[in-house]
Amino acid sequence: MSPARRAGLLRSLALIAALIGLWQAVYWWVGDIALASPLATVRYAARMIASGDLGPHLYDTMRAFVIAFVFSVGIGLAVGFWLGFQRLAGDTLEPMIVAIYAIPKLTLYPILLLAFGLGLSAKVAFGVLHGVIPIVLFTFAAVRNTKPILIKTGRVLKLSPGQTVRWILFPAAVPEIFTGLRVGFSLTLIGTLLAEMFASQRGLGYLLMTGIGLHNVEQILAVTLLIVVFAAAVSVLLLHLDHRLHRRG
């Protein structure tokens, strides 16, 4: 392990320790009614996992999330490439997509519920609504910023549009697209969880809401902890890959 990498690891560990310390300090400050200690939360989470209570909810969330992410990636890449290719369409639609990005999408949830009904499809739609936009925007930017000489080479070699995407645009744009996928991943997860918080009978978001209803602090914190650890772990991994791709490119 190189010294720089070891220093980075040490700093990360220090950060995690500081966050846990902060949690424990807040626990001492507000007491049992409002907060569970880190140890008690981990114990509760372990019990939830061991007893099998968590399994079905986790499965439900993950299923909705995976479907939503597949849709986000598919639609995002297709629209992103299309906008990147068609200059007029790109110039016209890009600012509008940016504007949609800034909307509190939560308020659109009732419309989705009315359109898709209660259940998996509404959750998936909400996840896609959150996740697809960054993928579109990053793909669009990546295609637009591809060096013109590469595209000209493609034209000289008489590549079809499909071949141009496969052999020139895609390889050149991979690092940027990956950044989009990374952001899209987080936002799809957030969208799916939010959808579960309002209208569903299963899933991690639902567990959070029943936790509030029952005033079960340990449950709220245990589920929050699981979500945060999962989201942060995947995000760190993706960030690492992202940096590597960008360095290579």
Binding site: G8, R11, S12, A14, L15, L19, V30, I33, A34, L35, L88, D91, T92, L93, P95, M96, V98, A99, Y101, A102, I103, P104, K105, L106, T107, L108, Y109, P110, I111, L113, L114, A115, V183, F185, S186, L189, I190, L193, L194, M197, F198, L208, M209, G211, I212, H215, V217, I220, L221, V223, T224, I227, V228, A231, A232, V234, S235, V236, L239
Partner: protein, 250 residues
């Protein structure tokens, strides 16, 4: 550019016309959605009647409070972190993964601690916005050309003068990016948490109208929020672009 603007207008008009046609043709039934012209009429009535003034005022107040907090803390924390290299390196992974964590997941916990009032909503909105501001503040400070700072030192400018005359103008565009994000996040945070669980505000009114099948209130309110966030975002984006152009960065 004018052609693009015309096309943009065309796309919006076409989308609204398509919705209108679908609704009138009965392909989208009345319970799901009202035709756009009825939504516009209801929105007008709602605003004229003043029935929602309280909710709008409440949402705006909380958003502005959260925004002021996020900007203030973000600028100060950014400035401090810029000087403390070690601390900044330590916190960097936190900033990088921050927006991957659903901040709304903390809302239940804040409700338990602070009660079901305005504070949890403001906190959520603050937490969403503050990191964007810190990151962009750091980014902006990084981009201040060191030759300008040296010039300031040569001219013996006081720290306040340096900040106002050198740092702020150079870092301006990045700060504006941070502000733009913080505004969007503050809005999302307040309305989102109102929507999840609260006792008032536009988000609450929307979820209330939804649960009581009151489409004549729900759609106008949703449209109101969409319009507000699109207009605010548009104004800030335009300003940002102007600053960037003036600095020759775009």
């Amino acid at each position: 550019m004018n052609r693009v603007n015309a096309f943009r207008l065309l796309v919006v008009i076409a989308a609204i016309a398509a919705l209108e046609a679908l609704c009138l043709a009965g392909l989208i039934d009345k319970i799901t959605m009202q035709p756009p012209h009825l939504i516009a009429r209801d929105l007008g009535r709602l605003l004229v009647s003043g029935r929602m003034n309280g909710a709008i005022a409440k949402t705006l107040t909380n958003t502005v409070l959260a925004l002021v907090l996020a900007l203030g803390v973000g600028v100060i924390a950014g400035a401090l972190l810029h000087r403390r290299r070690a601390l900044r390196d330590t916190l960097d992974p936190l900033f990088a993964t921050y927006y991957a964590v659903p901040v709304f997941a903390f809302y239940p916990f804040f409700i338990v601690v602070f009660g079901l009032g305005d504070i949890p909503q403001i906190l959520i909105a603050f937490l969403l916005g503050v990191v964007a501001m810190i990151v962009n503040m750091l980014n902006g400070l990084d981009r201040v050309p060191s030759v300008l700072l040296k010039t300031a030192r040569v001219l013996k400018l006081s720290p306040v003068d340096t900040a106002l005359r050198v740092t702020l103008p150079s870092a301006g565009p990045y700060l504006l990016t941070g502000i733009k994000l913080a505004v969007a996040y503050a809005f999302i945070g307040v309305i989102g948490s109102e929507f999840i669980l609260s006792r008032g505000g536009i988000g609450y009114e929307i979820s209330f109208a939804y649960t009581s099948f009151d489409n004549a209130t729900m759609y106008p309110l949703i449209v109101l929020i969409l319009l507000a966030s699109i207009v605010i975002n548009g104004v800030l984006s335009r300003w940002e672009r102007r600053l960037l152009v003036r600095r020759g960065m775009q």
